[in-house]
Structure formats: C-alpha cells, structure tokens
C-alpha cells in the first residue's frame, strides 16, 4: 500500500472519529443528567483523531521532503490539527463542554471538505515552485494557520455568546455584585437551570456563563491576535526577501490586514464605554466570517499571488 492510499485511508478515519466525537458532545450537552464520563469519550476520541492527523502530516513531511504546508489540502489538514490541539488545551483549562461542542463541527466540516471535495490530484504533494523554497514557508504559513485556528475558536465563542444571550443587550456587571462563586460554570448553569426554585438563580447562572464566554473569547482572541501579527509580518519579510516588496496590496495580504483590523477593533472595543457585551461579540462574530474569506475566499475568487485560479 503506497503512502497516498494510506494517508487517504487515515484521513477518512479521522473524519469518522470526529463525527463520532461531535455526536457524543451534542448528546452530553442535551442530556445533562448524564455525568461527565460521556464527555470523556468524546474528548479521548478527538485526542486520538488529533494524533492521527499529526501522523499524517509528519508522514507527508518525511515523504515529500518539505514542510507539509504547500497546497490547499495540506493547509486544511494542518488547520484541523491546530484547531483540535487548541480546543483540547482550552477545554482542559476551562473544563467546559461547550468548547468541544462548538469546535468539533468546524473541524469536521474542514476535514470533510479536504477529503471528500478536493480531487486526489489536488491532494498529492508536488514539488515546490521556486518561490516557495524558503525557510520562511514554515514560519509564515504555520503562524498564519495557528492564528486562524485560535481566532476561529475565539470568534466562535463570541457567536455562542450572541446566541445564548439571544442577541439582547447584556449587563455583565450585575454578576460581580452577587456573591456566586465561579467554579465550574457550566455545571452551575445547567444544574441551577434544572433544579432551580426561582428563575433568578438560573438567570444569574446564565449571566455567569455569558461573562465566562466573554472572557474566554477575549483571552483566546487576545492570544490569536499576536500570532496573526507575527504571521503577517513574517509574510511581509519573506516577500521582501523574495521580491523586494514587503507589502503589495495583494488580495490575500489585504484581507489578512482586514482580519487584523477587525480583531484589533474587537480588542479595543471592550475598553470603550457602552460597547461591552453585545457589540464586542458582534465584532468577534464578524471576525469569524472575515477569517474564512481571508483563508479560502480570496484563493478561490481573487487573482494575485495566492490565487488557485479556480473561478478566475
């Protein structure tokens, strides 16, 4: 069995494991009476899928001789791997089932697109064109992928914020005046919702959840933003070493800048009076769509250095 079929087989397995994990997470969210063991199954299976992805990428690196980030297929796999790694880390830190429930569907869609929609021709590793034969390839593209994954995670949490708050204006300061301690917030919210004697306690739990979501998305985007900065700068320096022009308003570069601007405004809007809560979450949610346009939309629709030229 040659490497190509082996890798194809492995990535199909990854897809099915992620599907299984997604179902587990959604079940455990809907029926919260079940204890956390069900979630453990989901977590372990996504850990296994992540390890398998890592092996696929490593084998591609060894076989082709260069870092596995030279075409769309490899970058999609790399993105899924970083997404899963980040989600596993965040879920361990926050101990919230929401992370997996929100992120595994996205990872599933990406692997699905990579394996099922892309032709085998596009999946094959072909020799690098002269412009890509540089050490900057590793630095720039991996940093951009890492930043995309982190920012996707953060902006999904912002969208979740908007969904749970049902797009109403939320005053998050109310929670601080109460004395509800803040350990496992998920558990609190759902337990109080189920056993609540009064609606006020469940409302408080919901506000606490929203406050946590707000802070988590802030911290995650706050980490993804420096990554994006480093990625864009690495791209500029590479362009300068290759063509003498660190910025040429290429559609991909411009959209990366637009993504950077949107998340910069997200980070700054939180300090602006009256914009906390819903409006910052809208900016965060907008960031989600901007990332996808930047990553895939430009390649398929635009012309320029990064174009794959499908629709041009």
């Amino acid at each position: 069995m040659d490497w190509d079929t082996l890798q194809n087989f492995a990535s199909n397995i990854v897809f099915s494991i992620l599907l299984f994990a997604m179902i587990i997470y959604w079940i455990s969210l809907s029926f919260f009476k079940l204890n956390t063991n069900i979630v453990q199954i989901g977590r372990i299976s996504s850990l296994f899928a992540n390890g398998l992805l890592f092996l696929i990428l490593a084998s591609r690196w060894i076989v082709a001789g260069y870092f596995p980030l030279s075409n769309l297929y490899e970058s999609l796999l790399f993105l899924t791997w970083t997404l899963l790694t980040i989600y596993l880390y965040v879920e361990t830190k926050t101990r919230s089932k929401l992370m997996g429930a929100v992120l595994i569907p996205v990872a599933l869609l990406i692997t699905g697109f990579a394996n099922l929609t892309l032709s085998p021709e596009m999946q094959k590793a072909s020799p690098l064109v002269p412009a890509l034969q540089s050490n900057w390839l590793m630095m720039h593209v991996s940093m951009m992928m890492l930043s995309y994954a982190t920012l996707i995670m953060g902006s999904l949490l912002s969208i979740l914020f908007l969904v749970i708050s049902k797009y109403q204006d939320v005053d998050l300061q109310v929670v601080d005046k109460s004395s509800v301690p803040l350990y496992n917030v998920m558990l609190d919210y759902y337990e109080t919702k189920f056993f609540a004697q009064a609606d006020e306690i469940s409302e408080l739990g919901k506000l606490k959840l929203l406050q946590s979501l707000d802070n988590w998305s802030y911290r995650i985007i706050g980490l993804g933003f420096p990554f994006l900065t480093i990625g864009i700068i690495a791209g500029g320096v590479w362009a300068n070493e290759a063509w003498g022009s660190y910025w040429s308003w290429d559609p991909k570069e411009t959209w990366a800048l637009i993504t950077w601007i949107v998340f910069a405004t997200y980070l700054h809007a939180r300090i602006t009076k009256g914009w906390e809560g819903k409006r910052t979450a809208i900016l965060g949610g907008l960031g989600f769509f901007v990332i996808w346009i930047c990553y895939l939309g430009v390649n398929f629709l635009g012309k320029g250095l990064h174009s794959y030229g499908w629709l041009s």
Partner: protein
C-alpha cells in the same frame, strides 16, 4: 483646552471607526482588480450593463477604485489613523504608565467593596496569606498593616510599545516611498545593463549609476520536469566596466550591493542560434505566445530560399531542446543543442538564447520597518499578559483582601479563590 479634551474623548471611538473604515475601503481593492489599463475596466465593467447594477468603468475611475491604495482619501485615512495612534499614546497611555509604577495602597476597608473580587477573612492568618501570595509570583509592598501586590506589569506597558512600533512602521513606509525606487530589467545572458527601467520612485530618490552583467543564467528541473529553481550569475561593474562584486542569485536569495537589492524574478527566451550547412550562423527570434505563467515560445525557420515553406519550432523550457513541427502541425521530433537535422535543408541548433528578469530595489526605510516589525511582534505577545493587583488590610482580627485584573478575569477569580481557601 476644549479641543484637547474633545480629542481624548473621541480618541478610542474615533480610532475604531477609522480602523473599520480602512478595513471596509480595502475590501473594494480586493474585488476590483487594481492598476490595470483603462481598456480592462472598459471591458469588464461596461456602462451599458454595470456589474452589481452600478459598477461601471467611469465611476470606478472617478472614485479612483482602480488604485484604491494610492488615492488621496485612502492616504488621508491612514494619516488620520496614525495621528490618532500618536495622540492616544501620548495623552492617555504614558500618564497611565506613570500611575502604574507607583504603589497604590488602599487604606480603608470601605474601598475594598469597589473591587471586583473582595472578601473578608477571619480564619486565615496574615502571614499565611502573605506566603501564598508570594508563592504565586507577585511583587509585594508592605506598609504597616496594608499590603499591595501586583503581577504582570509588562502586560500593562506592552500596549504602548505596540502603538509606538506601528508608528515606526508608518514612518519607515513614508521614508521608503520618498527615497526608494523599484526597477525591472530584462537582460540577455552575457549582456551588460544599467538601472534604467524605473517602475516607481519617490520625490527625493536618487537613482544610482550602477552597471551589472549577467554572466550566466540557468534553470534546474525536478525529476518530474517541473522547474526547481532559477539561477543568475550576476557581476556588479564599476565605471570602467571592471567587476567589483559577483554573486549567483536565485529566487529567495537576492544580491545586495550598496543598499541596492537584485532579485531573481523573471526569465525569457529570446532566440535560437542556428548554423546551416555552410557554417553560417543565424538567429531566429522566439515569440512567447502563452502568458506569464505558462510560457511557450515559437519561431519559424524557412526551408526554401523564397521563404514559402518552413519548420515551426516550439520551446517551453531551458533544458536544451526544442520541438519541431511541419506546417500541417505534425510533430516531427525534438532537436537538442548541437544536434543537426537533415531534411530539405540541414542545420544545427547551436544555442538557445535566454534572458533573465531582475527586480532592482532600494528602500531606505527598511531598517526602520524591520525594527518596527520586531517590536510589534514582541509587544503584541507581551500584551497578552494580564496585570493583576491584590490589596490586603489587617484591621484588628479581620483581614480584608481584594483584587482586580485587566484581562484574565476568569483565571484571576480562580486564583483569588485558591488564595483565600481555608
């Protein structure tokens, strides 16, 4: 005075609006292709049937959408952004910095109620609490019965560096556009060139009088016959035509001389040199009838004196062979360098003449821009660190403890709870 206050209030919201404006306007430049000829716009955005119902070429040219990033209004937006950045840094961030470096003790228990996390303790001893705080990497300041502890001051200072490095980058860009130049030269192998084909220069640029010579140009191919790398052997010559410096450049590895960079960017085939049966050399020009990414050259060699029949030669690589076709388009075979063909007329392919395309550039703003980049990368990372402060007062047998943090409220609450746990 009123104007100053106005600017302070308007600063952050103003900056956010400017940023979002810049972002939305930049989108236009990605949808409409930039810097094309007027004919391209006339073709793609006709007045009779405008794209999206309103985009016709005259409107595009009127608003400058064909060169969005060089229009006066875009540059104005960037200038506004830069000045907003500058005023924000000077007026708001530097004073905050001065305050943060002082020890801010809280003296009365009443002040504790205003803090995000506060608690009143009876069971824990003062010294136990102090030990716990010290274990979590706080800097402690002790005055009689009050304690002030903080952690992560660098996270408070880093945003200033972020703004300053962005300003540095903008200054570097301005210097580069005033003082730098960009030129392109296509030089046949073994020929000499001067920097003459200037693509862009600034208002105070001085084009250097430098001459160069391409000694050799070659392409390496992979086993799958795709291009692996382009190489040019470049010599820099002085005024008398003597060589001062010599370097082989390839894509991603430019040559540098006196602040001028020479990049390998393009290539072309210009002709075939043929020797006929009577050892006369002729050169037939090659025309590229593909596009810039799929090049294929063609020429025609007559086989009769009155030029009415001939052979068509196609070539698309520099591996040292070309393909022969007759006038019906039938493939006759490949002809390698130094190989002869013996049909009605016999000739030998002697050489394939190539030229290399160089991009020549000087940008004096690069050192500033690179240092701005470096500081921006580091400072955005350090800005992630959260700045936490904890206050303690011991009054009789009661201990009041409180704390706040700038960014990581979730993590801080857990840390705070661990501190006051019995």
């Amino acid at each position: 005075m009123k104007q100053r206050i106005f600017k302070i209030i308007a600063d952050l919201r103003f900056a956010i609006i400017i940023l979002l404006l810049i972002a939305s306007v930049s989108v236009i430049g990605t949808i409409i292709e930039q810097d094309q000829s007027i004919e391209t716009y006339k073709l793609n955005y006709p007045i009779v049937n405008p794209v999206f119902g309103f985009l016709s070429w005259d409107r595009i040219l009127l608003f400058g959408f064909d060169h969005v990033y060089k229009t006066w209004w875009f540059i104005t937006l960037i200038i506004l952004f830069g000045s907003s950045l500058l005023t924000c840094t000077i007026l708001q961030q530097v004073p905050v910095l001065k305050v943060s470096r002082r020890c801010q003790f809280l003296r009365t228990p009443k002040q504790f109620q205003r803090l995000k996390s506060s608690s009143q303790l009876k069971k824990l001893k003062f010294t136990n609490l102090l030990a716990r705080i010290k274990n979590t990497d706080y800097s402690l300041f002790h005055q009689k019965q009050t304690i002030y502890a903080y952690k992560g001051l660098s996270g408070r200072m880093a945003p200033i560096i972020v703004h300053l490095s962005m300003i540095l980058i903008l200054i570097g860009t301005i210097i580069g556009s005033l003082n730098g130049f960009k030129a392109q030269e296509i030089i046949p192998k073994t020929e000499t060139f001067h920097i003459q084909n200037i693509l862009s220069n600034g208002q105070i640029t001085q084009i250097p009088k430098v001459a160069g010579r391409i000694n050799d140009f070659w392409i390496t191919y992979t086993k799958q016959t795709t291009i692996n790398q382009f190489y040019s052997d470049l010599s820099i010559l002085n005024v008398d035509g003597n060589e001062i410096d010599r370097k082989t450049i390839y894509v991603n590895s430019p040559a540098k001389y006196n602040g001028i960079f020479f990049y390998q960017t393009d290539w072309n085939l210009i002709g075939l040199r043929i020797k006929n049966s009577s050892s006369t050399f002729s050169q037939y020009p090659l025309i590229n009838f593909g596009n810039s990414s799929n090049k294929i050259w063609i020429t025609w060699i007559p086989t009769t004196i009155n030029l009415d029949t001939g052979l068509v030669l196609l070539i698309d690589n520099l591996q040292g062979y070309c393909s022969l076709y007759n006038e019906l388009g039938e493939f006759l075979g490949n002809l390698e360098v130094n190989e002869s063909i013996n049909t009605n007329v016999s000739f030998t392919l002697v050489d394939i003449l190539s030229s290399t395309g160089l991009q020549i550039k000087r940008d004096p703003g690069i050192p500033l821009i690179y240092s701005g980049f470096l500081f921006l990368m580091l400072s955005t990372l350090i800005s992630y660190i959260t700045y936490s402060q904890i206050w303690l007062i011991q009054e009789n047998d009661k201990i009041f403890i409180g704390g706040t943090t700038t960014r990581a409220t979730f993590d801080f609450e857990i840390e705070f709870l661990k501190l006051i746990k019995i």
